[in-house]
Amino acid sequence: MLVPYEWLKEFVPGLPPADEVARVLTMAGVAVEALTGEGEDAVFDFEITHNRPDLLSVFGIAREAAAVFSLPLRHPELAVPEEGDAAEGMASVEIAAPDLCRRYIARIVTDVKIGPSPGWMQARLASSGVRSINNIVDVTNYVMLEVGQPLHAFDLDLVGGRRIVVRRAAPGESITTIDGEERRLSEDMLVIADADRPVAVAGVMGGLETEVSERTKAVLLESANFDGVSVWRTSRALRMRTEASSRFSRGLWPENARIGVDRAAALIAAIGAGKIARGMLDAYPGREAPVYVTLRPRRVNHLLGTDIPAEEMKDILMRLGFIVEPQDGDSYRVLVPDHRRDVSREEDLVEEIARLHGYDRIEPTLPKGAPPEVRLDPARQLALRAGEILRACGLSEVETITFTNLEACRELRLPEDEVERRAVKISNPLSSDYTMMRTTLLTSLLDVLKRNAARRGDDVAIYEIARVYLRREREDAPGSARGDGLRSSGSAGEDLLPCEPTKIGLAVMGRIAEPSWERRAADAGFFDLKGIVETLLEGLGVRGARFVAAIHPSLHPGRTARVVVAGDGDGSDADIGFLGELHPDVREAFGLRKRACVAELDLAGILAAREPVRRVKPLARFPAVTRDMAIVVRRDVPSSEVRDVMAAAGTGLVEDLRLFDVYEGPQVPEGHKSLAFSITYRSPERTLTDEEVEKAHRAISTALTEKLGATVRE
């Protein structure tokens, strides 16, 4: 809000220079966003907080400045030189919706001479950012800027029946507002109507048909108090935000309507724009009871941590227009002035005292008493450790936007019906890119790969530990989902909220290591990512995770695995995630030139599967014997199965099984593969003899042949 310094000074002549005013008012809570111009021509740009509609005018700021600087305040000239007939005989006012209109005052101006307003008025309007129209309209705008009361001038001769009715719009009614737009009104909107039709949208904008024009001879000057919430809803519904509507929305006080109309009438007479009829039409069904608040100086000091004397508190409040009277005990009865409708409790007075005393004069301290025990959230701790491991594996952390859209899910080949069923949709999305919350981290990670690829960044290795959002299905009781964050289960409405499990998402495309002059780095593949997942699980204390061939719509059908761990003690297995290479269709849809592998793991699943403390194994005391074994099996036999057979057949002497070669090609029959293992035999109790090792080795070989049809080559 722009306020010229010289206009402010008209009401507080003793003000210090503008930059001093700006500094002091800002520190008292009346924020000056900008100060332009020099000396007497300076103009302030105030940013008024939502709770202080009384500051939305030059006089409002002046009243506050006088209190802050302890200077005398002058009031605007309100004496109206009335003449001629009484207003009462010239028009009538009726409030049919007193719940939405507390007061409606009309003054009548006769012998109107429309013309330009005087230069000084135009200059002040201009420096406040308002365009000059004609003398009558300029006066209404000037008064709104000066005392904060929106006014409207109707051409009285065009008001049907010379009758004003403040009522809700009737079904099907519409109005053409002065901006030329036709507005359809709904029945909850408040209008100003004449005998036949709406002539203004109350508190928002006047109608075109009753607008003041060069032919206007008589004016009905409206100064009213409309319900803030109602004006706000109407202006939102009609998408019209005007100076008047934003002031009414914040809440004005009925007494200001009288000040506004008298000030406007005084000015119209003073500039010779017309004659003011005797008296006024004042419908005032909503007179408010005075507001009293109890002030206990001891409580003020207790909350602020100060030692402000009661006398200073009293002085501050009186400067701000409060009336302070002693009450029994050590308390005061404080009458709140009309314009301070934001003050209704003692805490509100505490703020008034604190800000005029000066926030900077309150001594900084630290909370007394021992700090409460700090609780650590295990899931959060685990996520931090997971990040450390993944960064050590070469993956960089990303932080992505949690929105996605159906098209991205389609590009990921996710089943549409499932997305529709589980995704949380935004009812008022900002753009078609962000219509719903993600159900998997893949949409976000792929988005990062896509953006980097589009900027010629083909080598990307990333992770994100963040939430996905799944609409609750009947079987998910509120608060039951793991890793859900804080919920007070059972309280009202919780079942309306989705599950928000935290996932660990990984994606590698191209090289992980930086290329070096010494060694060239290869592009990462399925087994690089699997190795990272294994390192991660190992590092987080999850033992015995298994990888099982699986199908995922976004992934290569032959290069996808589920990650399975033994369940929470009940013997069943639990899926904790998946990994795989991107399906080529997905890769193409996202414009990726290099192959990419992705994984998603469930943080709560990992937390449940981990061993809290791992105890050390004693170091071996007897020597080991290492023998190699190469076998040929059908291509579709999983290596894990080969290992399981080998371990079982090794009669407890196999300490380690290391696969060191996998080969398919000319020397191996069609549809088969060759696997080469290095087998370490050791007993914890004695040195093994050659015969024992040979026996075990042969047992393994026989088992492989019998169980898997393998050919063993020594």
Partner: protein
């Protein structure tokens, strides 16, 4: 014969010192001490000498052999050292060539900031709490003294899922969730994503990050609010950081204050970042409004609470000199990989009370 021995020794000495490799030195050894070497031969020919000279000559020859052996040993050490030096010289590398680095991932600056904040507030006894992103209108607004259909909702443009469910516009709703289930004293900070329907531009994103915090107990004062936040500012932005508190308005605090810190770029002299004011707006704060305390079942006459909220994106931008907030969401590796350095929180801060 004696003269011959003298000559042999001096010849051997000359040849030993002329030898420049272990192989040459070995040849010298063979020439003098080998089976057919000069000293060996001379020793063997002692029998042809007159018997009375034999003991003396024998002694001289043995001394000669020892002396040549000693010369050879000494020289062998010298030559070995020379050869090692030559071999090492041949292996010399250009130490200015780049090192071969193990792959290492970078931290995201938002998470770095969160970790540092958690460290700073953790040392003041604040625990970390979290709550859902998709939140009930009740927690996001009503419990925080913003009634339904109220004009003050205009300040925040909200994403709705349904009439009752919103994407939280601040993490302050978690304050209510934490307090609702527990009794004071509580000190907690709440990191998390928040949502506002703002179009993306250099200073806005529809999804961004906040850190809220609060402490409730008997006797928490506005002075405690100032002291706690001033300490955070010094630890986070540096020991010389000044703070100021300006009155402001939030529906859920009374009194309310905005905290500015002295500009981290120009240290108060005035620059583009602080719009020449020397101050940067960092956070909103205040004492909990009694209605909020009542909503969680506390008695505002007995208990008070300090509360604050700040934008993690904004302070990350200030701390690391990031000019466009969108960089924080794009995850362009050329940007993200600049955060390979250690989190400042890992270095112990020297903190001063007050």
């Amino acid at each position: 014969m004696r003269d011959d021995i003298e000559k042999i020794i001096s010849r051997a000495a000359a040849e030993v010192s002329a030898a420049s490799s272990l192989a040459e030195l070995d040849e010298v050894r063979v020439r003098y001490l080998g089976k057919k070497g000069k000293i060996t031969t001379a020793l063997r020919s002692l029998g042809t000498c007159p018997p009375e000279e034999r003991p003396v000559l024998g002694k001289l020859l043995n001394e000669a052999r020892e002396s040549v052996e000693a010369m050879l040993t000494r020289r062998r050490d010298e030559v070995a050292a020379l050869e090692r030096a030559k071999a090492l010289e041949a292996e010399r590398v250009d130490v200015t060539l780049p090192g071969t680095r193990p792959p290492v991932g970078a931290r995201h600056p938002i998470r770095m900031v969160y970790e540092e904040l958690e460290e700073i507030f953790g040392r003041m006894g604040f625990e970390v709490a979290e709550g859902p992103d998709v939140e009930l209108d009740y927690y996001n607004f009503e419990a925080l003294n913003v009634p339904k259909n109220h004009p003050s909702r205009d300040i925040q443009d909200t994403f709705y899922v349904s009439d009752e469910v919103v994407l939280r516009t601040h993490t302050t709703c978690v304050d209510v969730r934490v307090m609702k289930g527990r009794k004071p004293p509580i000190r907690a900070i709440i990191p998390g994503k928040v949502y506002r329907s703002d179009a993306s531009d250099p200073s806005h994103l529809p999804v961004f990050h906040q850190l809220d915090g609060f402490a409730v107990d008997e006797g928490i004062t506005f002075g405690d609010l100032k002291g706690t936040l001033a300490r955070f500012a010094r630890e986070f932005f540096g020991a010389g950081t000044k703070v100021r508190f300006r009155p402001s308005y939030f529906p859920f605090t009374e009194p309310s204050a905005e905290m500015d810190v002295s500009c981290v770029i120009c240290h108060g002299r005035g620059c583009r970042v602080c719009k020449n004011t020397g101050w940067l707006e960092i956070l909103g704060s205040g004492l909990f409004h009694p209605k909020v305390l009542e909503a969680v079942g506390y008695d505002p006459e007995k208990v008070s609470g300090l509360a604050f909220g700040m934008g993690a994106d904004r302070i990350a931008m200030l701390k690391y000199g990031i000019e466009d907030i969108r960089l924080l969401a794009e995850n362009d590796m050329r940007f993200n990989r600049q955060f390979l350095h250690i989190n400042p929180a890992h270095i112990l801060h020297t903190s001063r009370e007050g």
